[in-house]
């Protein structure tokens, strides 16, 4: 079974869910509200790690049975935090992020993308890091100078962007080489098996790297190709997001 962990307002993830269900995939959509209101039991011992999540509707989720998890968890729902004293809320957020990281590491298949530290939705690459590695991966990066007094380039209006998803080895919509190879390599270096890469148009209309993120818009990718790419990823071993 596949799962999408996303908020009810996450239209991009819900569009993906519709696409996957139409493709006949066994899918469950789990909201953060479901997760935090469930009963959890997660063990680690000599026999390995296991987890059991008993949802309020009585169903039981065993992460080991998931062959692919799309992780769009962003934050502990405010409705849940409202149960805590204000001074405890940061602690509760940290505890949930930490628990989620371990819980999702029990999934039987890849997690796109694995939680990282205090970013439960996955590693958020920094802007300088993105630019640096994009350049080293051969992606066209506009030269620029940054000081402690200058803003980041992302503060400027880049005009219309061309967005592409890296899903495992696939780049959707397709990019010409060497851009596609550079995007794949960048996703590998950043440890983001699911990554969106954006290009702006340069002065002569050429593609110029404008950023990347694990927080993707699925609707940028053509549906059938996206399903196929996710199926290919699901056939691979779990991805834990370790940096090469």
């Amino acid at each position: 079974m596949w799962a999408i962990l996303c908020e009810v307002e996450d239209e991009s993830a819900l569009a993906l869910a519709v696409l996957l269900e139409k493709a006949g995939l066994d899918l469950t959509v789990l909201c953060p509200e479901h997760l935090v209101r469930a009963t959890h039991s997660h063990r680690i011992g000599a026999d390995g790690a296991s987890a059991c999540v008993r949802l309020r509707d009585g169903s039981v989720l065993d992460p080991a049975g998931l062959t692919l998890l799309i992780n769009r968890f962003r934050a502990v729902p405010e409705t849940h935090l409202a149960r805590c004293a204000p001074e405890e809320r940061d602690y509760v957020r940290s505890e949930w992020s930490a628990y989620l990281a371990s819980l999702l590491a029990c999934c039987g298949g890849p997690v796109l993308n694995p939680p990282f530290s205090d970013s439960p939705g996955g590693y958020p690459p920094g802007e300088l890091e993105s630019l640096h590695f994009a350049a080293l991966c051969g992606l066209p990066v506009a030269p620029q100078r940054i000081t402690e007094d200058s803003p980041f380039w992302a503060d400027e209006d880049p005009g219309p962007l061309s967005s592409h998803l890296v899903v495992g080895d696939a780049v959707l919509p397709a990019l010409p080489e060497p851009l596609a190879g550079g995007a794949r390599k960048l996703a590998g270096i950043l440890g983001l098996p699911l990554m969106q890469v954006d290009f702006a148009a340069g002065p002569d209309g050429e593609a110029v790297f404008h950023g990347c993120s694990g927080d993707v818009e699925f609707r940028h990718a053509p549906g059938p190709a996206l399903v196929e790419a996710l199926q290919a990823v699901a056939g691979n071993r779990p991805v834990q997001g370790d940096r090469p």
């Binding site: 039991s41 602690y91 509760v92 505890e95 930490a98 990281a101």
Partner: protein
Amino acid sequence: MILLIGIPSEPPLAMVADALRRLRLPFEIVNQRETARHAIELEIGPDGVDGTLVLGDREIALAEVTGAYDRATDPGVVPEMQGLDDDAPDALRALRLQSLLSAWLQIGPATVVNRLRPMGTNASKPAQAQVIRDHFHVPDLLVTDDPEAARRFVEVDCADTGAIYKSVSGERSIVMAVEADDIERLDALGPCPVQFQRRIAGTDCRVHVVGDTVHACRIETDALDYRYARMKGAGDPKLTPVTLPPDWAEACRRLTRALGLEFSGIDLMVDDDGTPWCLEVNTCPAFSYFDVGRGQPIATAVARHLAGIGTG
């Protein structure tokens, strides 16, 4: 060139600075109390990011930085920033300068003790335990918000040893034994899962791995959590340098590498049968308390590692 980043009087930073002086290795301190005199300029081009760091009247090409010990603290707690609004120009500039330097450290070629990404691996104790168990025994643990599961774990699974509980995240917490009145309180388990863990009786051993060097000390205390021994009325723990068996030392090195760290502080508990159990790995060890060997060997090892000159 080696950079030490933080507050110069902070013990770990000061000890590494002393070690670098003893070794006659060149270094600069990026003193967070003097950021008004610092500047950074980064250039992004086809070969990635390059730039310069200005510290007062000295200019350092970042390409020449071969090692960095990053003990930077939140700029907001630096005395010179106290009382400033978050959006005050000086506060914003200090924050921006630190974030750019930190960002460069994550991507530059220098040996960085430690980079932020691997440091994040102890933000989740159970997730880290899943890595540790490839190298050491880890105590059985249960993370739950289910009172019945917790009760069963404590009263049945850990009946012979007892259990402890602690935070799941990297938030510092005092390790506490689960006592009888705690079991009665299990029905009140709150809005997040709690980590229960089998208690391992034995002797604490703190291991610091710096590159390939391993420094261990035995910690003797009656307290459950030696970090809080004095607070709990158990007196100061007794620290004694020890040499680990070679296979334990190698497991510590491999675990440190598996977590992507240059420098780790590994908490082992050696049980009464002599088996080492790994409780957790500190990814940003403030080692000064443990550097009890002759000649401050941990600080010296960090200094040598930053300089790329090995164990010596």
